[in-house]
Amino acid sequence: MDKKNVKMIPIYVMGKKFEVPEELTILKALEFSGFTITRGCGCRGGVCGACATVYRRKGDYRVIPGLACQTVVEPEMSLVQLPYISSRRSSYVVSEVDPDSMDIVKTYPELMRCMGCNTCTKSCPVNIQVMNYISATIQGDLKQVVELSIECVMCGMCAARCPAELSPYNIALFVRRLYGAHKLPKSPELEKRVSDIANGVYNAEIAELKITDTKKLQGIFNEMQAKKGASV
């Protein structure tokens, strides 16, 4: 980066003022300011949820949730990184839970405490409709829960702020697993392939390939590539 062109802006980290280049993310701005981050950082790409942060813009009363690795700094913002707050999860055997019975509510009885306040949705840094997936869970609409929660990064912000003390993300993960294990159709094609392999159907062919010289392998590869056409 050509430092001549960089505009510096002030930010406040836990009350201390730092000057940082204006286009950095909060995460890089913290590092630029000299912080060594061990707990609040994982993927650096917006999927692991380790870097949950809350900030306030100058003069604004609202506290805004964000992922530090995905949010660009703004002049005069004040911010703090959040620890990962422990929250309850139930243990279960996925194959033994009946997704169509009361098992779901029995596994997470606190579901019934949800008061529909929408705080969870407002605190989600990746804009998931958290309250809606909790309602869908209560109504037994598992498919809807999968659709609504699939982008959850497990940052824990919803659980940290829920006044009824639910941990929505653990509940969603539980429901998605039930859906995946019980509701998605079996694939006869895949089952056949697995049993064919177990029965050694491909053994001879692969044994042959293992001793085939590289030129010939390349030749077969080229043929396969030529056949596959443009449809991808």
Binding site: E23, T38, V72, I150, L178, G180, L184
Partner: protein
């Protein structure tokens, strides 16, 4: 934040030329000879300067990236005088080091086979490269495909350097891995009739990559991490391993961990150790950006080689051709191969195509570097970095409106935040360090040459030869995570180990001193240092290849 004026001008050229590329236009494929020449001239793996030979130990003479050589040949970060091996903090049958996909698969499987398991990891359970995988997981699941075809593609992709027995295990077990993950509740994408949705990443001859939106790794990691909790397997988070413990016969007998919060060392004695520490992107070979997570610092390679494990193909690094080059906040992050599979062409600053979108990763990376460097057809950003265009609007034009959103909601979501709509505007890309092709050599059970020391996942070498195909890593980590877990549970040391020692570490430190390597650096690195100016990024490689011409 949207594209600045300079880049907009180039986008207009891309738009003007886009219509020439509709109607099934494809840039011609490289001949094997052209490809070889291209790689030799422009691919960082083939250019000399950045490789060194290791100077001592079992891997003496092994060519490795310079940055890796430096961390291997540093003093150990472990303070040897502070460790008391006679009173271990934990004793276990199997110790798994690393909480990514390979580690959790190994831990679950070792547990399933009756072993007492401890899993120690550097960050939070699941903070890993696995969680970042977008594209999918390979398995020959369709009737027209077969494990034999998967074998051929994997060998060709690996430049025939893969270990054949290991590849055989990979392709044969891939379909059952898909069943295993589904039985645990992973919601794989399905077609209308309910069968698995498949797509075809570059280098594969059939549709055989299975995805979960563009969040495949995230969903798999969440499910497997949750299952670790269900099974009540002991997890030590923020407790990276720093050195391996050997016994009197040079067999592996455990590891020393470092508590990241307190700095205290933790001694774990184990009947077998499964190393699943992933890759090395955060060492930034050749100064490249990386797609890897924060903890990808090659610790496993460093520890294992000190414990006398043999390395294989360590010099081969995979640069993913389509790392994000703009906006700066996303530099280095990966754009899934599936974007190209679904129709996005790769074009230069004038909107001209210069490579077929389905070339292998190494060839694509080399052409993009050539375009940005000697051909001077790269797109320059205001921060002085470079890139080529990935023409994402092609995807809806070819597949029908809505295709992009259906397949790549996550990518859309991330760019829109920065004022860029990938269904309307192309994305700027530049190669990014993505994968460590080599690693510690393994056999079909994931065993290294050191007894009781296993490898699973990206830390292992041999599965992918010199170059890994897309979607083949996720399947690798689960196949060999499970294989190592099963084998370790059956064969871990049943009698008490005698003569636990860190002599090999002491000897290593002495060699370093004797060679006069005086750097202050200690390793393993654990976390990269991005403080102050180091928080900023550059693309220095382009100017290096231009200078070399």
């Amino acid at each position: 934040m949207a594209y600045p004026a300079g880049m907009r001008a180039s986008i207009e050229k891309v738009e003007q030329r886009r219509k020439d590329r509709l109607n099934k236009y494809e840039f011609p494929r490289l001949s094997p000879e052209d490809k070889a020449a291209l790689l030799k001239d422009y691919h960082p793996d083939f250019r000399d300067g950045d490789k060194v030979n290791l100077q001592f130990g079992v891997n003496k003479g092994e060519r490795v990236p310079k940055v890796l050589g430096e961390v291997i040949e540093s003093q150990s970060r472990l303070n040897l005088t502070s460790v008391d091996l006679s009173r271990p903090d934990h004793k276990t049958d199997v110790l798994v080091i690393g909480g990514g996909g390979g580690g959790v698969a190994a831990a679950l499987t070792a547990h399933e086979n009756g072993a007492k398991v401890i899993l120690a990891t550097k960050l939070r359970l699941g903070d890993s490269n696995t969680i970042m995988a977008e594209g999918g997981i390979a398995a020959a699941s369709l009737p027209e495909d077969s494990p034999a075809a998967h074998y051929i593609d994997t060998m060709v992709g690996g430049r025939f350097k893969n270990i054949p027995d290991v590849v055989e295990a990979l392709v044969n077990e891939a379909p059952s891995i898909l069943e295993w993950l589904t039985s645990l509740g992973a919601c794989f994408d399905r077609t209308k009739d309910g069968s698995y949705f498949n797509h075809m990443p570059a280098g594969h001859a059939f549709k055989r990559s299975h995805s979960i939106k563009d969040l495949t790794g995230l969903e798999l990691m969440r499910v497997l991490g949750d299952e670790i909790r269900n099974k009540d397997i002991q997890v030590l988070e923020f407790s990276p391993a720093v050195e391996l413990i050997l016994d009197a016969d040079g067999q592996c007998a455990g590891a020393i961990l470092e508590d990241l919060d307190t700095g205290r060392n933790i001694v774990v004695e184990a009947g077998a150790v499964i190393m699943a520490t992933g890759g090395m992107g955060r060492l930034h070979p050749n100064g490249f950006p990386t797609s890897n997570h924060y903890g990808a610092t090659a610790d496993g390679i460093v520890m294992a080689s000190r414990a006398r494990a043999k390395l294989l193909y360590m010099e081969y690094i995979q640069y993913h051709p389509t790392g994000v080059a703009w906006p700066e906040q996303m530099l280095g992050l990966l754009l899934s191969e599936a974007l190209r599979a679904e129709g996005a062409h790769v074009v230069n600053c004038d909107g001209e195509p210069f490579v077929n979108r389905l070339e292998t990763r190494d060839a694509l990376s080399a052409t993009i570097l050539r375009e940005c460097g000697p051909r001077r057809k790269g797109v320059e950003t205001p921060t002085g970095t470079m890139g080529a265009w990935l023409d994402t609007p092609m995807i809806d034009l070819m597949g029908g409106k809505g295709t992009f959103m259906r397949r790549f909601a996550g990518i859309h979501h991330r760019f829109v935040k920065f004022g860029i709509d990938p269904t309307q505007e192309p994305l700027l890309v530049y190669p990014t360090q993505h994968y460590q092709n080599g690693g510690v050599a393994i056999n079909i059970y994931g065993q290294s040459n050191v007894p009781f020391l296993y490898m699973a996942g990206e830390v292992a070498g041999g599965v992918h030869g010199h170059n890994r195909l897309g979607a083949n890593s996720l399947v690798d980590i689960f196949v060999f995570g499970r294989r190592a877990g099963r084998h370790a549970a059956e064969h871990f040391r049943k009698t008490a180990a005698t003569g636990l020692t860190l002599e090999h570490v002491k000897a290593h430190n002495e060699e370093i001193a004797a060679l006069g390597i005086s750097s202050q650096r200690k390793s393993p690195m654990l976390l990269p240092d991005y403080r102050f100016e180091k928080a900023l990024t550059s693309t220095q490689y382009v100017s290096e290849i231009v200078e070399a011409e």
